[in-house]
Symmetry: C2
Subunit: 272 residues, 2 copies
């Protein structure tokens, strides 16, 4: 279990921001990324259904002999980590919620923590619960920022329209009497908007990107298990892309999140 | 078949703008609205899958003895009208694409027609094809405006952020040398943004709302068939709401499109 690729799954292409962070942190690893594009969004589905989908996705990734499993989807991280860990105790399973919450708690000077995410993530309350466990005295505010998802998919990372939307969502917090000192980007789509948010929020606000914190947590887990780098063969740093539907859109929109061009012909369509 | 309710189906809550227009045009009719919220979005699914979903939805509505079927979903209108009509020839079946295209052709003075919609609607090309059939010499331009969907669901109908997004999508057309003289709002979510678009586009541009044109076409079809108003009993004007998932979100977001408050307890959850 120390030589295989790292498996990453998400409901769609947003998790490619997590893959990007993983590749930066673990450049010698191979990866298999699975986006369940035929069944997205997970956020509107029941927890039982999301657990079933997550188990199917993990099962598919296991056929590639993965040495670790990263659940890049916030919704699946919130409801399926337990069942995945119970089913495959020999493989490290890492989600995006706990690492993001832990980083926010560690990096917030005054304990004024804000969380933004999709509607389902915010209403599900997984980030809020994790922060409350780790730093009970923190003051947590949370807001669904659904339009950010559309902006990110459109590739509008720092346009006038994107700025107007960001001010609409964050203005009252930033200009209020007790502004947050840490902001969790609690959706895989949001890291691409970090530059814009930084610009309107100023340098005082710690931006906590679940993607990079998840990559750091996985690297620690692999190192602790003696599997930080693949051994026994040349390191490759390659990625295999799997999707359940829509190779063309996966490549076109996914490329924005991954930060490199993707060839639709390189996306394998699989059934779960 | 002249006394039952009118069946309306959509992949989600956007079709409630069509229901709203239908109720205004046919205030004495009863309606059954079905939103297939568990399986949205349809736009990313294959035509075969969308046809299968549409047949299932229509089958469910037929158990209410509907006297007409309105396909409020642009994607399903583009691929499933033929199979629905073939399966139930005795019931008028009306989609949103043909009425919208016909109205644009009739109301464009110079034949400079623009179409906006979701990514799948624009890429599918159903509006463009219908306009080309009806008015071959028209110049058609089309653009996916995905962020509009998120704005509409967020309830941001005429905010500064919504205006910035509208200018980003439409600015080059409106300020170009040959601006469009008719704009098809080719997505069920867009009628709620009509006021904003009107404000930035000015009075020269004809805004063609598929919802109201579809309602007019259905009224004509019913009148031609002698079934414009339910007969043989008191007119009620009531609506039954069915959804395949998420009554709370259906009521909360759907109320914005319907223009009236919706009670989550009034949404029946059904399996298709």
């Amino acid at each position: 279990m120390t030589t295989g690729p790292i498996g990453v799954f998400d409901s769609g292409v947003g998790g490619l921001t997590v893959l990007r962070a993983l590749r930066e942190r673990l450049p010698d690893s191979d990866f298999v990324y699975l986006g369940d594009t035929a069944r997205l969004p997970y956020g509107t589905k029941s927890p039982d259904t999301v657990r079933r989908y997550a188990l199917q996705a993990a099962e598919a990734l296991r056929t590639y002999h993965v040495r670790a499993l990263v659940v890049a989807c916030n919704t699946a991280s919130g409801v399926a980590l337990d069942v995945l860990t119970a089913r495959w105790p020999e493989v490290p399973v890492v989600g995006v919620v706990e690492p993001g919450a832990a980083a926010a708690c560690a990096r917030s000077p005054r304990g004024e923590i804000a969380v933004i995410g999709t509607e389902s993530t915010i209403r599900g309350g997984a980030y809020q619960a994790a922060i409350a466990r780790l730093r009970p005295e923190a003051r947590v505010r949370a807001r669904a920022c659904s339009v950010f998802v559309a902006l990110a998919e459109e590739g509008w990372f720092d346009t006038a329209a994107a700025e107007a939307v960001a001010r609409a969502y964050l203005g009252d917090w930033l200009e209020g009497p007790e502004p947050p000192d840490a902001l969790v980007l609690g959706c895989t789509h949001f890291p691409v908007l970090a530059g814009l948010i930084r610009r309107i929020a100023g340098d005082e606000l710690e931006l906590v990107d679940s993607a990079s914190t998840t990559a750091a947590v996985l690297a620690d887990r692999l190192e602790a298990g003696g599997a930080a780098a693949p051994s026994g063969r040349a390191a490759a740093g390659g990625v295999r892309f799997l999707a359940t539907d829509g190779a063309e859109r996966f490549a076109r929109v996914g490329g924005r999140f991954l930060g490199t061009e993707l060839d639709p012909a390189a996306i394998e369509i699989v059934d779960l």
